[in-house]
């Protein structure tokens, strides 16, 4: 299914290793009312990697991610996931929301199991699966708490566990840490690296923080100001085998941050 995409010419500048599980072809989006958010985005997301969309606020990152998620129709162009055209949400994609989007009336356990509940998985079975993922994101013991009893960081862990629980091939995260305070965010970023290493999944990550992008990504797609186009693709190539704190002192990390800063600078004037 994915192999069929191998003969698709990669986007100029894309050093595609592995085949693309998500392909975005010439996507344009103009909102009703005339705001042109995306002006022809063509992009491949290699399987098993974490690709980050990085760009200034309001450049159309959320728009693009929602189009890939099937939550928003594009004005023109097409999105392929696993070789098939996206017409709406599907079980091979799951979403982590910027504002968590948890159900305040439901416990952590039910929130995490919600995707499976919608699919009609038996209660005992889906809860067993959910318990595993709750432990995985570091919330063991919080199964019966409610969202309003948790901190922002913990709520987003619930959002992540919910996305993991449906076992989709692609996980999309829209600025998952932007509503989380700084210390919590660092810890969360480190934990995320551990999770990614264990899950053989493709992550589509959105952020406006250069440091965050370099820290977590295999590939970084720089988007220009609205109407958005792909400006550059960067592959930081960091050694993530060691201490997660050490990465932030790695010269390759610092070089990548500096490089991206230099190329984004020209959009600021």
């Amino acid at each position: 299914m994915i192999a069929s995409l191998a003969n698709v010419a990669p986007h100029p500048g894309t050093a595609a290793q592995g085949s693309a599980i998500v392909s975005v072809r010439n996507i344009k989006k103009t909102y009703p009312g005339g705001v042109e958010a995306l002006s022809g985005i063509t992009l491949d997301f290699p399987e098993g990697q974490l690709t980050t969309l990085l760009g200034p606020s309001g450049c159309g990152k959320t728009t693009l991610l929602k189009i890939i998620a099937g939550l928003l129709p594009a004005t023109s162009g097409e999105v392929l996931v696993g070789g098939r055209t996206v017409t709406g949400p599907g079980p091979e994609r799951s979403f982590v929301f910027q504002d968590f989007a948890l159900m305040p009336w439901a416990s952590v356990l039910r929130n995490v199991a919600f995707g499976l509940e919608l699919r009609g998985v038996r209660k005992s079975e889906r809860e067993a699966i959910a318990v595993g993922h709750i432990a995985k994101v570091g919330l063991k013991g919080f199964e019966y708490k409610y969202p309003h009893e948790l901190s922002g960081g913990m709520r987003q862990r619930v959002g992540l566990a919910r996305a993991l629980a449906v076992d989709s091939a692609v996980i999309m995260m829209d600025e998952p840490f932007s509503a989380v305070d700084e210390q919590t965010r660092r810890k969360f970023q480190e934990d995320l690296l551990g999770l990614i290493a264990n899950e053989k999944k493709t992550f589509l990550f959105v952020t406006h923080s250069i440091e965050e992008a370099v820290y977590v990504s295999d590939r970084i797609v720089l988007l220009s100001r609205r109407p958005s186009r792909v400006s550059t693709i960067i592959e930081p190539k960091l050694d993530r085998s060691g201490d997660p704190e050490g990465i932030r002192r790695d010269p390759a990390y610092l070089d990548a941050v500096e490089g991206i800063w230099q190329s984004l600078k020209k959009y600021l004037d």
Partner: protein, 251 residues
């Protein structure tokens, strides 16, 4: 409440009015407004009688049925209006019209169509209660955070699942507020319906009392009804407070 710079507890004013009532009752006006003490005594007399119990049963039954219909029909209609622009355009003018219309004037029409029985009372209750319930459910659904709607969509919720597992719950604080207001209106509906039909439930009693000029009985019954309405309102308000925590946490 403060008076002359002093904070007075809620009960103070009630006692003040009760005393005033008692005094007025002992003047000439006692003819139409008997003293409170006599009314309270009469209440103790009326409450244990079978005719009161029967009236209470019939009233309670038609009240609950009417409110039940109003909730079961009103909440889904309100949610539909909140989610569908077409349904909203189609129904909103009617809902607003009926919300402010003098509904008592419609009761004779219902009476002609459904006769002088419980059905008319039930429909009157529904007619009084449903519009505010619809409107509040609509507002509740419109205030659901868009990302919660997208969450349901992205995890593959069907229309029914989105309705029953997300929208109803997310809009619950507003829905309950609407039901509380609907219940208060339903009390008016059940009383007005019975007064107009006057051969059912408390309507019969009111008819007997007023035609025989039993003012103490009349007022005793009225106070009982007021107490019921007050208790209902407080009960609903309590229920509402129980879900407030997540109305606040929805953002």
């Amino acid at each position: 409440m403060t008076m002359f710079g002093y904070r007075l507890p809620m009960m103070t004013s009630l006692i003040l009015w009760a005393v005033l009532w008692e005094l007025v009752g002992h003047t000439e006006a006692g003819f139409i407004l008997p003293p409170l003490s006599k009314i309270v005594m009469r209440m103790g007399e009326i409450l244990p009688t079978p005719s009161f119990a029967e009236a209470l049963l019939i009233t309670g039954r038609s009240f609950l049925t009417g409110v039940g219909i109003a909730v079961l029909a009103g909440v889904p209609i309100g949610i539909l209006m909140g989610r569908s622009i077409i349904a909203d355009r189609l129904l909103l003018p009617w809902v607003n019209l009926f919300l402010s219309a003098p509904l008592s004037a419609l009761v004779p029409v219902i009476m002609v169509l459904f006769g002088l029985g419980e059905a008319t009372i039930i429909l009157t209750v529904t007619l009084f209660a449903i519009w505010i319930i619809v409107l509040n459910a609509r507002v509740g659904v419109r205030s659901i955070s868009p990302s919660l709607v997208e969450m349901a969509q992205s995890f593959g919720a069907s229309r029914w699942q989105a309705f029953s597992k997300v929208y109803v719950w997310a809009a619950l604080p507003e829905i309950l507020a609407g039901v509380r207001l609907g219940v208060i209106r339903a009390v008016k509906g059940v009383v007005i319906g019975q007064l107009l039909v006057s051969v059912v439930g408390f309507g019969t009693l009111f008819e007997i009392y007023s035609s025989h000029f039993l003012m103490e009985h009349f007022w005793a019954l009225l106070l009982v009804l007021f107490a019921f309405a007050f208790a209902l309102n407080e009960g609903m308000a309590w229920l509402e407070r129980k879900v407030q925590y997540y109305a606040a946490s929805r953002a």
